[in-house]
């Protein structure tokens, strides 16, 4: 079966999305709207909703772009683990995946919040581990400069290892809570982790009992080299990949190929590239939406946006000319996305206008546009071609985009027998088809056998 997760970003995935007539009227801090989105996704039997995140207000140095608010700016939003804990009280089946950074948080705190969310949601929590690519976030945590990429990934690896050990502090049967004998817990069924590493020293154990999933599902983006390696080693799911089917086939083979050296089966990591869907009852309707949205973006705003994405000021350059030659190949805090936009721009000889027009609908990622059958065709083709195990769906205008995906595309996928008609499991791990997490308390059982018992 194909896996599908949705990004229920209330402003939509297109820079002009929140301005469209079918968009939410007031997306800021709107819990009702977020619940509505999650319920639509759950009605479509999607595996999870997924929240990107950052720890800073961005683009204050670009007032025009700041005022216009682009989809990844998030100047005012809920803290994701609190939001998804709340939402899991209302949506009872779908997985809930929140982002937390390994760069500015403590492993203890992250282990605790996500274990708590896994208990609250009864086994539906996921952690999207990021290293924080927005350099400005550093200034909110007492650092003048963002950590370099190498440092960030070395720290991320150790961070993950500490969190995984903390999640495995207690045995499943550690809390007998026996009123007769007075034994609340069994001291023999818990161990400190005694971690002393380069970046962290954490004694443990964690002050939460084993979670319903053993450990929450770990997502990563994994676009850069070190990111791919870390994902091959530790991630349960990955949502980055590339823009074209060929890119994604290559990335799929690359990452799954790296897993053997860590003793992992290729199927224990699900690759779910982000795609933007423009769906209509007909192809013409989808095209119409696409054009309406593109028309909401003025050229100056488009240039601001691209300047931000590329960490390079393009103002004053000819709109119908190429990118300047002096773009630095890497910048501190520059994301994988930046590298990727520069690559496709140079490869296809695009002008500045063409680049931002292509970047607007999907941050340069793949766009699946057309009737439900056409979008389903494309999804099926990618899936059968081993470009993806499934998809991370971003829609340009919300709630219209997610609703159309669920009402039009999902039934088409179900009819073809490649997506579930009902939830068959209760946990996110189950929805994704992942086996149980290994545990020090079950050394006799390999991963995957514990749940079957």
């Amino acid at each position: 079966m194909m896996n599908i997760i949705a990004i229920p970003n209330l402003v939509g995935g297109h820079l002009g999305g929140w301005r469209h007539k079918d968009a939410f009227a007031k997306p800021v801090m709107n819990l009702e709207a977020f619940i509505e989105m999650t319920e639509i996704a759950e009605r479509g039997k999607l595996d999870a909703v997924f929240l990107a995140d950052g720890n800073g207000v961005r683009d204050m140095d670009r007032p025009a772009l700041f005022a216009a608010n682009h989809p990844s700016a998030r100047p005012a939003f809920f803290e994701p683990t609190t939001l998804l804990s709340a939402v899991s009280m209302i949506a009872k089946r779908i997985g809930v995946v929140a982002t937390a950074t390994s760069t500015y948080d403590e492993p203890w705190m992250v282990a605790r919040r996500f274990a708590s969310m896994d208990h609250i949601s009864k086994g539906r929590a996921g952690w999207n581990l990021v290293t924080a690519s927005n350099a400005g976030d550093a200034l909110n945590f007492g650092r003048a400069e963002h950590m370099g990429r190498e440092d960030r990934y070395a720290r991320a690896q150790e961070f993950y290892e500490v969190v995984a050990k903390l999640w495995d502090s207690w045995a499943d049967d550690a809390f007998p809570q026996d009123k007769q004998t007075g034994q609340y817990l069994d001291p023999a069924r818990v161990r400190p982790i005694d971690h002393r590493g380069i970046h962290f020293s954490v004694k443990g154990p964690l002050n939460i009992s084993p979670t319903p999933q053993g450990r929450p599902v770990v997502f990563m983006a994994g676009q850069s080299g070190p990111g791919m390696e870390l994902a091959a080693r530790y991630a349960d799911a990955l949502f980055g990949a590339g823009t074209t089917k060929q890119d994604c086939i290559a990335a799929y083979a690359d990452i799954k190929g790296r897993m053997a050296r860590y003793g992992r089966a290729p199927d224990s990591l699900k690759i779910l590239p982000g795609v933007s869907t423009f769906v209509g009852r007909t192809a013409a309707e989808a095209e119409e939406l696409y054009e309406e949205l593109q028309s909401l973006i003025s050229p100056p705003l488009g240039v601001h946006y691209l300047s931000k994405m590329l960490v390079h000021d393009l103002e004053g350059l000819p709109l119908d000319g190429p990118l300047p030659d002096d773009l630095a190949p890497e910048t501190l805090g520059g994301s994988s996305l930046r590298r990727y936009i520069i690559d496709f721009a140079r490869r296809d000889n695009l002008t500045i206008r063409q680049i931002y027009e292509r970047t607007l609908p999907a941050l340069g990622g793949p766009v699946f546009k057309g009737s439900a059958a056409q979008v389903a065709d494309e999804m099926e083709d990618w899936w059968r071609s081993r470009a993806a195990d499934g998809f991370t769906i971003m829609a340009p205008v919300q709630p219209r985009g997610l609703r159309e995906f669920v009402d039009l595309v999902v039934p088409e996928l179900q009819r073809r027998g490649i997506f579930r008609k009902e939830y068959e499991t209760t946990t996110l791990r189950g929805h994704l088809g992942l086996s149980d997490a290994p545990s020090q308390w079950h050394p006799e059982q390999a991963a995957g056998e514990r749940g079957a018992a």
Binding site: F78, M117, H119, N140, Q177, Y184, K203, I208
Partner: protein
């Protein structure tokens, strides 16, 4: 009006409480128990539910006590802010006061999660500011030794200032969300914190809009002199520790008396001594627990 809060430990406040026949059958990580207690309190018009907290497993060196689990040990509990975010969806009026430590959490992170809780609860969030008493917690945060008391309180005061400044980042009318003009927000209605102090450097602004309460309510415990001073400086609620009426009166006068030098009227801080209640109620039915709370 009198203010009433209750501490929401499912275990009860007595060392033998969890073993009593009228206690919850199981309490470890039982969300339903927490929801049920919040709903009972809400039915009684109680002002708030309060959760103490720590960042470590205690008493591992004393296996008998560890196994018996005393009420303040909390070997396995929810992270309180995520818990209250969930409980808020099952209640509509009661205040939700969670604990977070200024010794091991960043002010940006504290400001963000409590602002988020205030939005998610429609203005019912409170932050119980603690500096962490239990020295062993430091070992979960890369420190072999806990901060000294002086350091802790100095750090706490600076953290409180930063958190409050972050909560005040955005004007109420900052988010225009005007589809026709394309102005989502007004850049003139947000300001930076730009704090550079001894313990923290935080630029801001916070990435959460102004909360329903403007700012979540700040609670403290304030047992030591430094703690009382901090409460007089910036607390809005104080959990008193007096064990009898005379002590409580002295504590009340002491703390309220310290507020003047910070330009605060005595009424800006509510003092709530902790008391364990027991009363004779022969026909009281045992506390019932709903199905999902059973093992």
């Amino acid at each position: 009006m009198m203010v009433l809060g209750f501490t929401g430990g499912a275990l009860g406040g007595h060392l033998g409480g969890w073993r009593h026949r009228d206690s919850f059958p199981t309490t470890s990580m039982q969300l339903q128990c927490m929801i049920e207690m919040a709903q009972i309190a809400e039915r009684g018009g109680i002002d708030m539910m309060f959760l103490a907290d720590g960042n470590g497993v205690r008493q591992m060196d004393k296996p008998a006590l560890f196994a018996a689990n005393s009420p303040s040990d909390r070997p396995a509990v929810f992270e309180p802010v995520t818990l209250f975010a969930a409980v808020a969806q099952h209640t509509s009026r009661i205040g939700l006061v969670a604990t977070a430590t200024t010794s091991y959490e960043e002010p940006f992170t504290i400001a963000r999660k409590f602002a988020s809780l205030d939005h998610l609860s429609g203005g019912r969030a409170g932050w119980n500011l603690v500096t962490t008493q239990y020295v062993e917690d430091s070992k979960n945060f890369g420190r072999d030794e806990h901060f000294g008391r002086e350091d802790r309180y100095e750090r706490a005061r600076e953290s409180l200032d930063v958190v409050r400044s972050l909560w005040d980042s955005w004007a109420t009318d900052a988010f225009l969300q005007d589809k026709s003009t394309g102005r989502y927000l007004d850049p003139a209605r947000v300001r930076l914190t730009n704090h550079r102090g001894k313990h923290f450097a935080v630029k801001g602004p916070l990435n959460v809009a102004r909360t329903p309460q403007g700012q979540p309510v700040v609670f403290m415990a304030g047992q030591s002199d430094a703690g009382k001073e901090l409460a007089a400086y910036g607390g809005e609620g104080l959990f008193g520790t007096a064990s009898n009426k005379a002590e409580a009166q002295a504590e009340y006068a002491d703390i309220k008396g310290r507020m003047k030098k910070y330009g605060r009227p005595p009424d800006a801080l509510r003092i709530l001594p902790a008391s364990a209640c027991s009363w004779d109620a022969p026909r009281r039915r045992p506390m019932r627990c709903s199905r999902s709370c059973s093992p």
